[in-house]
Amino acid sequence: MEALIIKDLYKTYSNGKYVLKGVDLAVPEGDFFALLGPNGAGKTTIINIITSLTYKTDGSIKVFGHDFDLQANLAKSFIGIVPQEFNINMFETCSNILINQAGYYGITRKEAIIRTEKYLKSVKLWDRKDDIARTLSGGMKRRLMIARALVHEPRLLILDEPTAGVDIEIRRSMWNLLREINDIGMTIILTTHYLEEAESLCRNIAIIDEGKIIENDSISNIVKKLSQQSFIFNLSNSCNKRPNIENFKVSMKSENEIEVRVSSHQNLNDVFQEFSKQGIEISSMRAKSNRLEELFISYVDAKRNDDE
């Protein structure tokens, strides 16, 4: 059974902005799925359409087989959502936020109180249960939203950029929590603009750019397709002329930083040899961190080659 099927989804906002241009997606039950794309690609728009905060212009959505046009409320009852922006009542206590949320999904108060304890503990906020949300830090608020999304025990958990603005340590513990939840069978979809996050958590991935899905595959296949990677070389001595290396794209980042683009079929040894031949001394080297950007470059390059 598919947890989510999106067919031919279009969205034009009332200001005429044409944001989704025929999106197709299928997420199998139990999957850990990433929707990856740069800012403004349309990720939040898709999520908001699934949770009914935004109306679609055209297309169809099914959640566990329930069509949104026919059984929206039934479909919505299976979803838990952690939105990109805080939408908690800042003057309500953490436990009341969860108890109320459970109530909106038909869970009686008695049961809601039990679950509130369970899920506040799972995000390590139990000791803050009687504090109002306003007094929590940003990372805590985000965890509170995760607990809120879990309290009615949805079959599909959707997180919109869950780790944006969250520090490294909390990000790790959040990742672990999400893995545990997925292990017990909950389908998870998250949006992100970090390839690293998708890579370390997810099995399958769709890449969206300008309202279109440009790739939809398993993470391992996608990473294989990451045909080129850039490396930054730090030089021991500054260099004022861009060195030329045959078959490699070389650029100067600064006087003592050189960037080299290396394709999967090329060999880093050649670069080192060439550097020593030209008397350039390397003190250290690192991979350029924004691999998503590189992924896009490789897609755009591939497209250009197709067009030619």
Partner: protein
């Protein structure tokens, strides 16, 4: 056969969601009214005490009778009604609008509850505050005048109908409001004038025939008079006509609010 069973299970699931959801919203709204009682319950008590002191005791004693009863007695039902109107309206407009502004209204919008359930929930909050305030103001009134309840059923039903109608009006205001200014415009420029001209302080028989017919367009006139009839047994308006108009206003506002929210006006893109 199997299909029918599955269908019934689904219906039960959705019925349960809406019942528990409704209870959850009411409980939350009532807690809100009680928690911020300094903003919700105290002000009408103070304002009404002032009205009774100034218009009732100080000025009222010089006015003498109106419609055959002492002036203080005459204005008491009107003042109770006025508090119900402003408080029911104010409760829903501020609760719904702050949910919209701080986005926690989204919790309910993404949930599987029906729009109607959400509307009933907010309106019940307004009704709770309306009834609570009417009790408080009635107690205040009893310090200044004697009150009787001639027709209990009419008295209670007008309180409920009026409170629900203005809770819906508050919701309508909150749906369209984009900032705090826009939730104070309607109470100041529409609600207050209509209330003051709605026969709270005078019998419309005092007006010239022309202004009497203009006053007929003011829905608050019917509420105040129906309520005064329930308490004192006097009214400027035939009671059946008053009920008809109040119920029409209620049904119109309810349908409009449901229509707008289903369309997503003010809450969805």
């Amino acid at each position: 056969m199997m299909n029918n069973i599955i269908k019934n299970m689904r219906i039960n699931r959705l019925v349960r969601i809406n019942l528990v959801g409704f209870y959850t919203i009411i409980r939350r709204e009532i807690k809100r009214v009680v928690r911020i009682w300094i903003q919700t319950i105290l002000p009408p008590a103070i304002t009404m005490t002032l009205y009774f002191i100034i218009f009732g005791s100080l000025i009222g004693s010089r006015i003498g009778d109106m419609s055959g009863v002492p002036y203080t007695t005459f204005i008491a039902p009107g003042l109770i009604m006025m508090s119900i109107i402003t408080n029911s309206f104010g409760n829903v407009v501020s609760s719904f609008f702050s949910g919209k502004l701080h986005r926690h209204l989204e919790e309910m919008l993404v949930s599987p509850m029906e729009i109607t359930t959400i509307v009933f929930g907010f309106v019940s909050g307004g009704l709770f505050r309306g009834i609570l305030v009417s009790l408080v103001v009635t107690i205040v009134a009893l310090f200044f005048t004697e009150l009787k309840i001639t027709y209990p059923l009419i008295t209670v039903s007008t309180i409920i109908l009026t409170s629900v109608t203005f809770s819906l009006a508050g919701l309508l205001n909150a749906i369209f409001a984009k900032n705090f200014d826009e939730i104070s415009i309607i109470p100041t420029f529409v609600l207050a004038p209509l209330t003051y001209l709605g026969g709270v302080f005078f019998s419309i028989s005092l007006l010239s025939p022309f202004w009497q017919s203009v006053a007929q367009f003011n829905p608050i006139l019917y509420m105040v008079n129906a309520f005064r009839y329930g308490m004192l047994g006097i009214s400027d308006i035939p009671i059946l006509k008053a009920y008809t108009i109040i119920i029409l206003a209620l049904v119109f506002l309810f349908s409009l609010v449901i229509f707008l929210l289903k369309r997503g006006t003010g809450v969805r893109n």
